[in-house]
Amino acid sequence: MSAAVIETRALGRRFAGVTALHALDLTVGAGEAVAVFGPNGAGKSTLLRLLATLLRPSGGVLRLFERAVNDGGAAARRRVGFLSHQSFLYPDLTPTENLDFYARMFRVPQPPERVRALIERVGLTGWAHRPVRTLSRGLEQRCALARALVHEPELLLLDEPFTGLDVDASDMLSGMLRETHAKGTTLLMTTHDMARGFQVCRRAIVLARGRLVWDGSIAGMRPDDFERRYHELTQPPPGSALSPQPSALRTSS
């Protein structure tokens, strides 16, 4: 197996007494593309924020690029990109100014050249000098992808990147992500859109109630078959507040 980009052992996170992620063991090798599926509140975003070093673990070990993240994560952050449904772009600055700012924060050599190349790559040349506030959601997300790639990260974390995008914009983003993965970047993506997950990734994990309940290859698997299995895995335990109540399931005769 290729070198591990992500390695977690019993990784957990609690928020004010509520456990969002339970003792997760996960290894992701270099060059893999992994989809993270799970219902709302399953711990997907918490996992990504832990991996991005935005959150500190409450327990367990997190290793990125075969090094323990114990220094606050500044060294690891240099090699990690993060794309969320929030763009992290300053609305009053233009795409060029935003990318230039992030390029300088990541100490990218020759920021103007890098920014120009990225603007061209994501197809924002015509909008490069307009404030982000005036861009459509699709254009803003393209700019956000450029921001996440500005320092050429080896690991790209994607938290619901297709949220709010129309079909065309989602197709375009999906294509860009496949292109980025083909260049050797490791991807880890949370999404509720299984078809998109299948388009971009060849491995999937399923989280439910903060626990890893499935981990395997989805190459060659049909999304419909996987979806049936997914519903079995993520169904709340019988008797819990979230499980369907008999009265709710009863149909009128």
């Binding site: 959150l55 992290f88 300053y90 009053d92 700012f101 924060m105 982000v132």
Partner: protein
């Protein structure tokens, strides 16, 4: 750090929101207070340093409240925290930006303050600016830290002054004392202890802010 300061200045010069708010509130406070005193009364001169610092405090709190609003839009603070930069450096850059905005506002407010309070133009102006520079540095240092904490709360406009003002009181007292002595034409040597106090507070607040900012912005 320079990239972060440059970004804050770029946004401010485009929107002019913080500077306009600082100037308007500062000037409005001075105008109202100047009408509270009889123009011929000696009390007007004695109250002048207090009036200046009241304007500084009101305008400063408003500016500090705004300092993390740009980082809230589109969750930009998370974007900043993803950069491979020590969180203490982010704090120092935000403090420097806030300090610059407050000083810029004072460059406009102080001449108008001199006009409204009918003060001699040249007397002690350097000392007044020195007290403002030292006072505003400490105010920005502690205010930036509390602005980062309060921006996540629902009642942030109320929370910031509640947290900030009690701790910043020593700076304001020293600022009023130094400004008063300077406007009265006294020597700078007479206010050295007050200047030392302000300098000491600046260093303490900057170091504490640099050390704890990481925990202030963490979930």
């Amino acid at each position: 750090m320079l990239a972060l300061i440059r970004k804050d200045l770029q946004i401010e010069f485009r929107t002019k929101e913080t500077l306009a708010a600082l100037l308007l509130l500062g000037l409005l406070t001075l105008v109202v207070l100047s009408f509270a005193f009889d123009p011929t009364s000696e009390l007007r001169g004695e109250a002048a340093p207090g009036a200046l610092w009241v304007a500084v405090i009101f305008a400063g709190v408003l500016g500090l409240n705004r300092s993390f609003l740009a980082e809230r839009e589109n969750d930009c603070l998370q974007g900043l925290l993803l950069c491979p930069v020590d969180r203490g450096t982010i704090y120092l850059a935000k403090t420097a930006g806030n300090f610059l905005f407050m000083i810029m506002a004072q460059v406009v407010i102080v001449p108008i303050f001199i006009f409204f309070f009918n003060l001699p133009v040249a007397v002690g102006l350097g000392g007044v600016f020195l007290s403002l520079a030292l006072g505003l540095l400490g105010f920005a240092a502690i205010g930036t830290l509390f602005a980062a904490i309060s921006v996540r709360t629902r009642a942030r406009e109320v929370m910031l002054p509640l947290l900030l003002l009690p701790l910043a009181v020593p700076i304001f007292i020293a600022g009023v004392k130094v400004s008063g002595h300077m406007l009265a034409g006294k020597a700078l040597a007479e206010v050295t202890p007050w200047l030392n106090l302000m300098g000491g507070f600046d260093v303490i607040f900057l170091v504490v802010g640099w050390l704890v900012f990481e925990y202030a912005v963490e979930e």
